[in-house]
């Protein structure tokens, strides 16, 4: 479980000269179009989409791609090595690992997306509040600091000890682990944006705080947030796998990639395919997301290119 790489928020400042306007400025669209173009020009992003897309599509289309129903056991073919019949071998119950990985991916993606989505949402709200309201800043950010004072997995395990196992609790836990990272990012963007002339102007014409934050500040935080989001999604998938692998995450009857891996752990020496293939599924997913994230960062913020 890793910390998402820091995204430089100061660099996401809007063109300072942009006129304060409630109308969507044509330059806004142009900016995104340029970013989109830059994104597609980069080969790594295409590779990232390809790698991630292949695994994700296979998982989403599991009912059609699968070779056997996910729970189907064959007592004749237990712990069978990879073959034409069982592409990735079978486990101790004679279940086809390829099909299990397809279905497990759905669960892993769901948990990863749930955790990343929640962390982004809560982190954004906390970051906006802390950045804009200075009297709340100290309280909120000290709580965030407290959460960040744990190595991520230690906080996750400790929280799961309190909450108990289960898919929902894994989502909550991972969301809590990543929320402070989002909050910090958003807050530092807000601190810069708050002093920009267009925000001052919005305040001068008497807009309410809520409107200023939602209409004028939030849209300018979006691009670093998108970048951070891709990384957090990737790390949530890694996090779920690690927690389930340790036996403190989701229960065994929810066969995520982490669970499939942990089932194979005791048999690695006699049946390496039971751990190698689910690990590869995680690896390719995270690799794809990382490539997309790197590409997005370069496209949305040319100044960081080559970092």
């Amino acid at each position: 479980m890793i910390d998402p790489p820091p995204t430089d928020s100061a660099s996401m400042r809007p063109a300072a000269t942009r006129p304060p306007s409630r109308v969507r400025h044509p330059e806004d669209r142009l900016q995104w179009q340029r970013a989109w173009k830059r994104l597609w020009k980069r080969r790594v992003v295409a590779i990232g989409f390809l790698v991630f897309g292949t695994v994700a599509a296979a998982s989403l289309l599991a009912p059609w791609v699968q070779r056997f129903p996910p729970g189907a056991m064959s007592s004749m073919d237990r712990v069978a090595p990879p073959s034409a019949r069982y592409w990735m071998g079978t486990d101790t119950y004679g279940r086809d690992i390829f099909s299990r990985i397809l279905w497990g991916g759905r669960l892993s993606y769901l948990i990863g997306a749930g955790a990343a989505g929640t962390a982004m949402l809560v982190g954004t709200v906390v970051g906006l509040t802390a950045g804009y309201h200075q009297h709340l800043d100290n309280v909120l950010m000290r709580v965030m600091d407290g959460l960040m004072a744990f190595p991520p997995i230690v906080l996750a395990i400790t929280m799961l000890a309190g909450l108990g196992q289960g898919a929902r609790n894994v989502v909550i836990t991972l969301a809590v682990v990543y929320t402070p990272r989002v909050a910090r990012l958003v807050r530092s963007s807000v601190l810069v944006l708050r002093e920009e002339p267009f925000v001052e102007a919005a305040r001068a014409i008497g807009l309410s705080d809520a409107l200023i934050v939602l209409r004028h500040i939030l849209p300018n935080c979006i691009s670093p947030l998108i970048v951070q989001g891709t990384f957090i999604f990737a790390y949530s998938i890694l996090g779920e796998a690690a927690l389930s692998f340790l036996g403190v995450g989701v229960p065994p009857f929810i066969p995520t990639w982490g669970i499939i891996l942990s089932e194979g752990r005791l048999y690695t020496t006699i049946a390496p395919w039971m751990t190698v293939f689910p690990g590869l599924a995680i690896f390719f997913t995270v690799l794809g997301m990382n490539l997309i994230g790197d590409g997005l960062r370069d496209a949305l913020d040319p100044r960081l290119r080559g970092l």
Partner: protein, 314 residues
Amino acid sequence: MVELIARRLLSLVIVMSVVGVIVFTLMYVAPGDPAVVMLGPEASPDDVARLRRQLGLEQPLVVQLGRWAFRVVQGELGESIFLNQPVTKSIAQRAEPTLALTLLSLVVAVGLGVPFGIISAVRAGTAVDQAFATLAVFGVSMPEFWLGINLMLLFGQYLGVLPVAGYIPLLENPLQWLRSLVLPALAIGLVQSALIARITRSAMLDVLSQDYIRTARAKGLLERVVVYRHALRNALVQVVTVIGVVLAVLLSGAVVVETVFNIPGLGRLLVTSVLRRDYPVIQGVALLVSVIYVLVSLVIDVLYVYLSPKVKYL
């Protein structure tokens, strides 16, 4: 400098208080009576009542928190429910492998990451740079524990050159100790070396574009001298700042990888305590680990100011 340290110490106290509240509260967010949860559903009412008294569960939550914090500050973490010994003792018994593993993986991460970063920066844009960048992305995309399993299969099972699992204490046999830690340290360190390489590279590129580097080259210094004496020293200041983050990740990695290699460290202790619902031990390990982490971050902040005269304030 003194003012900086004082201010950081103050914020450390605040952060640790927050950490304490978080760790303490965890026991109470679990549904049901903590005493029942700890003892399991078959426990007799007498046992539950005794544990409730032992834990002081009759008092209001705030009072309990206060008493708990008071004891913790004095270094008293309570009794392990399952192991029947003080938590401090269980932790002391398990600390060595985890610390050894974390430090060794730091050696791997820095030892590989910094040279790779320098080479990438010096050869920026070439095939070498791209190859390293590709390797780095591969590295950060791998679950450490999975890499650990694969290393174990390759070096332990197929090649048979290193032990598959287990831990030998340093004082018992230093050579075997090292051999038992090589694979787990590689599993954790390789992944992090990718991050350090990235940061070293961008720091080096930053420094290499400075005016004084051009001056150094213009006066005819050897490229080697320019890179290592003039550029690297300044770039390393930036690398030092991320070591705190890296250390947290290494500790995290150690917690998971200990399970793969069956190393009796704090990670194993934490995980088995969760499975046994041994809350005092969980609280103790979580507190200790975060104290170490926060202290290391403090040292690194101070070191950063010391190394970089430009930074007067953090």
